[in-house]
């Protein structure tokens, strides 16, 4: 016995060890694929559960992503209204606009003359008759300034506002700060919700895969015992379970992707209707290919981690008797 063992050990050069290792990996992989196809319905069920659990956080990510796109649009539409003094004429106003264009953090400056302002106001307010009855235009001319918000911090914008207010031609400067605050408060809530849900669902995926593997381990208790009795290493025994966790995860990722695509399809119509109402050309952004890869990778790693934890906890506990 002793002689055999040692001579065998000496005979095992590194190349052979690696070959055996590779072969056993292939065996475990094929074996767990076989197990999956042996009970396709049940494997599909588990994978579907994983898929649903993965689809949800990704769906929320998409939702948040789309919200931020919308918000970005709004960001650009935030503007500073510079009400000029009533005694500033058009020429002065236009040259002031040119000056302001050279300020830092300014995307564009539009001039609205007193007449245009009155006309717009008449249309929007609905006081048609009343305004027509006025002898004098009560409105000032306005410069609409679009800051380059993305590059503008809260401090910077404060500085800009002071700069603008200091101009001698300016009566008042208004910055629609409140709207931005509201927007950020809403996004804040959405982010809170998404984070909570993502954590919950990542836990759910781990639990589901872990639980499935756990029960699979218990189902194959005799197999594990017999394997251990004939000298199988821990790695050898764990391999098929890890592979099946991995496959469940990957399958779950794919199913999640299908679910997301389907949901997007179903949401397309109502979102389009909404966008029309806002006369916006906004359309839902789907998952990119990187997103698909990421989804599968996430599924795979959650599946692997879930089965790994389960395997660590439960295979050790099974000792032959």
């Amino acid at each position: 016995m002793n002689k055999r063992t040692t001579s065998q050990n000496n005979g095992l050069n590194l190349k052979r060890v690696f070959k055996v290792w590779l072969m056993q990996h292939a065996q475990a992989c094929i074996y767990s694929i076989g197990q999956i196809f042996k009970s396709p319905v049940n494997s599909l069920l588990t994978t579907a559960v994983v898929g649903i659990s993965l689809a949800l956080p990704s769906g929320f990510y998409l939702l948040l992503d789309n919200c931020q796109r919308v918000a970005a649009g709004w960001d650009n539409s935030t503007q500073i209204s510079l009400f000029l003094k009533l005694n500033i004429d058009e020429e002065r106003a236009l040259s002031l606009a040119d000056e302001i264009r050279l300020f830092e953090g300014i995307a564009s400056v539009d001039y609205i003359s007193r007449d245009v302002a009155l006309e717009e106001y008449r249309q929007k307010s609905g006081f048609g008759d009343a305004i027509s009855a006025l002898q004098e235009n009560p409105l000032p001319s306005i410069l609409l300034i679009h800051p380059r918000i993305r590059s503008l911090s809260s401090q910077d914008s404060e500085k800009l506002m002071q700069q603008l207010r200091a101009l001698p031609e300016v009566d008042t400067a208004q910055f629609d700060r409140q709207w931005i605050q509201r927007l950020f408060a809403i996004i804040d809530i959405v982010q809170h919700v998404v984070i909570i849900l993502s954590i919950l669902l990542a836990i759910a995926v781990l639990l589901i895969v872990g639980n499935t593997i756990r029960l699979a381990i218990y189902n194959r208790r005799t197999e594990i015992e017999v394997n251990k009795l004939f000298g199988a290493t821990e790695a050898f025994i764990q391999r098929p379970f890890l592979y099946s966790g991995l496959f469940h995860g990957i399958g779950g990722g794919l199913i999640a992707w299908c679910l997301l695509s389907l949901s997007l399809l179903m949401l397309k119509a109502p979102v389009l209707r909404l966008a029309e109402l806002y006369s916006s050309d906004f359309s839902l952004h789907g998952l990119s290919y990187t997103g698909l890869l990421l989804l599968i990778a996430t599924g795979a790693s959650l599946g692997l981690v879930g089965s790994w934890v389960s395997v660590q906890r439960h295979i050790k506990a099974i000792e032959p008797n």
Binding site: M1, E225, F230, G231, A232, P320
Partner: protein, 225 residues
Amino acid sequence: MIRFTDVSMQYGDGNEALRKINLYIEQGAMVYVTGRSGAGKSSLLRLIALIERHKRGQIIVNGQNLERVTGRRIPLFRRNIGFMFQDHRLLYDRTVFDNIALPLVIAGHRYQEIRKRVHAALDKVSLLNKEKVSPIALSGGEQQRVGIARAVVHRPALILADEPTGNLDPALSWDIMKLFEQFNQVGVTVLIASHDLDMIKKMNKSIITLREGKLLTHIGLTINE
């Protein structure tokens, strides 16, 4: 090959299964372990295969002190043992072939080699025609023979067989015993637990007798405490 020095063994619930066992089995010997139901035959074999661990005393198997064989060393140690269980322990979701191939797969042999050896083992227990069925489709005795084939297929240096013929008729039992004898003749150490006293006598080999966990006779000698 196997040496027990004052070995005692308890199961978790305080059940003392073996008490102060001293015995020595030479390399290449073929020895029977007998005793009544619950005497400790299976426990003795389990200690040697490291399925259970002893509490007191010292066991040396093949020059290795079993107390030192722990963790990662256990698998390698077990690969040199062929174990045949009292309750068969076959895997019902695999074919007979796959069941018997298990020790070879674990050791990482290649398919051609596995096929050759498994067929040889199946032939020895006269089950070549059952190669592709699941063990669930076999009679009790046939399952027992599959268990025997699995225990010998990887040509271990030590074979431990627990009641290998409990479900076999006398003629078949005799064939199986002759099979073990063949292995023994090429140098394999064989240890068989059995209660079939008639056959044991006919085989004319060394006998160890247990009673309530104590050694009663050792290789023909009565032990006096």
